[in-house]
Amino acid sequence: MKLAYWPGCVSRGFTPELHGSMALVAPKLGLELVELDRASCCGAGVIAEHNQELADTLNARTFALAQGVDGAAGMMNICSTCQGAQSECQERLDADSGYRDHINGTLSDQGLTYEKSGEWWNKNFMWLLVEEIGLDKLAAKVVRPLEGLRIAPFYGCYIVRPTHRLGFEAHPNRHKYLDHLIEILGAESVSYAGSHKCCGFPVITMNRATSLRQAGRHLADAIDAGADCLVTPCPLCHLNLDMQQPDAAKFVERDLDVPVLHLPQMVGLALGLEPKELGMDKHVVKTKDVQVKVAEVAAA
């Protein structure tokens, strides 16, 4: 399957292991990724907060670039925040042809037009795995079931709310996909209070206490529920849950020390890729215990 691929900013910035692991996992799943190297940041809600039309125009440009990729089935992203911010812009662009024409007018001198179409889609890797590849087909590709691993899903707000904007009418189980993926890859999905809550990242520079109390509390809940690690489809969540984890521990006044995987890393492990090539040594919280468990399964 050929896809227009939007990796986002953070996967090429502070979480290079996400971008790298996606590149390795794609061919194993039969995905041909055409990277949108001219596309700009989705705005993460911050540009829309400053000027909605600016965010809508920048994302319309990204959509137009994606629609220009010959033979692509659709567009794929690997960031919950990109998904949410882009879905919000797309909702406005699709709702009103006058507004869409106005935005396309700004893009016209670049030779770009965003075409509204019921056929075209922009899906996070998590949605794509379940809806376009299918759990049956994914299960058939597993060469190293993640048996014995207890994984806590962490979805990220932007990919679960608001449901009316995120296609839940057509796909009512989108809030369970991460759980489904964990189980189909052979691991056990851990149920805990924080799975669909906020990691706190959006206010890390404005209210550090609120931000890290959120991250710390969810990590602690996952640990108390018996998780060996967490997994997330959002690199911004990863920044607060992994990179900031030692500081988050101070805000909740307890030890944390629980690794956080990116979704493509978890899939990659089950498809037989090695932890090191998936960038699992590039985490702040060491992933050694997870690696040992995975190796034990492989040896058994």
Partner: protein
């Protein structure tokens, strides 16, 4: 049964048809009970209720009250999502009990499982499903001065404003003060002092009102408050649960847009600086240069000024261990801190910035106001969606 069958629900009967339509059906409500006067801790109790599938969860609670235990505490009045009294949590999700169909709640709970009903979150429980709205919700509403503060002498008769100048605040005016968003708020969960979604939506109702004379003061107050407009984590929980489509988080974003765009309020919480640094970075490079995000936030977009202010120094020092961790783990390289590549055709991104900023007005398409007209494809882009710049 395989894991796949379990995940795909192949072991279950179809999810629809939770009881015959228009006929009484059996549901079980699992209600969290608490009576402070009893001296006992809270406990769960299950009630079987025989009501038709199209009836509400509130009807179910009242059925249990009528048929089994008259002491169940619930606040309610209109039963039509107007009075805003019966906010509860149903299967963990904040909602009005009268506005939630019992068969829908059953579908969410899962076949054969009880429908879980709890009091709202983020507020102390007075009894059973009744929470102390005064202690949290109403106190926060009072905090934002929820009345008009016009300038000068009042007119002899009523204030007269053009109807279109009020369109922008109709969404925040739709609030019925039910507190469901307060219950769901994920910032309040960790910071009880957060002004919160309902009160901030109420604040926008006056900030956006052309008759109010304290617009800048209101914005400055809520921008400078460490628990004000910049304490919202953008989690969409309030948007998801609001029974009247007020979208409180969108109103908070409008407050920020006004505070930064119209009044350039450079708050000590760094809300202005964060937004400015972010928006400028995308204009410069097209993608985010994360390593410079924090220092540029303190410099209101610049790398070389503002960082020596006491608050900035403290936060930059606090962030140092994170930066060191990033370098040590190999996520971040010194080169990446200093250099960030531009998009190959960054000029095209800049052109978009220039075109939009030269318009002299901000265009906002509020779908609550114009509605989705994708079906008729007329393209209304109704009047009243253009915010004039102050």
């Amino acid at each position: 049964m395989s894991i796949l069958d379990k995940i795909l629900g192949r072991d279950e009967e179809p999810a629809d048809g939770d009881g015959p339509k228009n006929e009484a059906a059996g549901y079980t409500l699992k209600i969290r009970r608490y009576d402070p006067e009893s001296g006992e801790t809270a406990f769960w109790h299950e009630y079987d209720v025989d009501i038709a599938p199209e009836r509400s969860v509130l009807d179910g609670i009242l059925y249990a009250k009528d048929h089994e235990d008259a002491s169940i505490g619930i606040r309610c009045s209109c039963r039509a999502a107007i009075c805003g009294s019966c906010g509860v949590r149903i299967n963990g999700k904040s909602a009005l009990a009268c506005n939630t169909r019992i068969s829908d709640a059953q579908a969410k709970a899962g076949r054969g499982k009880p429908i879980v009903v709890e009091p709202m979150g983020n507020m102390p429980v007075l009894k059973d499903l009744i929470v102390d709205m005064d202690a949290v919700h109403w106190k926060k509403i009072q905090r934002v001065v929820p009345w008009l503060l016009p300038d000068g002498e009042p007119p002899e008769r009523e204030y007269i404003v053009p109807a279109e100048s009020m369109i922008d605040v109709t969404q925040s005016m739709a609030c019925i003060q039910c507190g469901v968003c307060v219950s769901a708020c994920l910032s309040l969960e960790v910071d009880p002092e957060f002004v919160g979604p309902a009160a901030l939506a109420k604040a926008y109702r006056f900030v956006g009102d052309p008759r109010d004379g304290q617009t800048e003061e209101r914005l400055r107050d809520l921008a400078e408050d460490p628990h004000g407009m910049y304490d919202c984590t953008h989690c969409f929980a309030c948007i998801e649960v609001c029974p009247k489509d007020v979208a409180p988080m969108d109103q908070i974003m409008r407050l920020r847009r006004r505070a930064t765009g119209d009044y350039e309020i450079k708050d000590k919480n760094n809300g202005y600086g964060h937004g400015k640094a972010f928006v400028d970075m995308i204009e410069n490079w097209g993608t985010l240069h994360e390593a410079q995000m924090l220092p540029r936030s303190f410099g209101d977009g610049s790398m070389i000024k503002g960082q020596t202010e006491p608050g900035a120094v403290k936060q930059l020092v606090e962030a140092l261990p994170t930066a060191i961790r990033g370098l040590k783990s190999g996520k971040v390289t010194p080169k990446a801190v200093l250099f960030h590549p531009k998009l190959p055709d960054q000029d095209n991104v800049r052109k978009i910035y220039k075109a939009i900023e030269s318009q002299g007005e901000r265009l906002e398409l509020n779908l609550y106001i114009v509605a989705d007209n994708s079906a008729d494809e007329e393209g209304a882009m109704a009047e009243g969606t253009k915010e004039g710049l102050a």
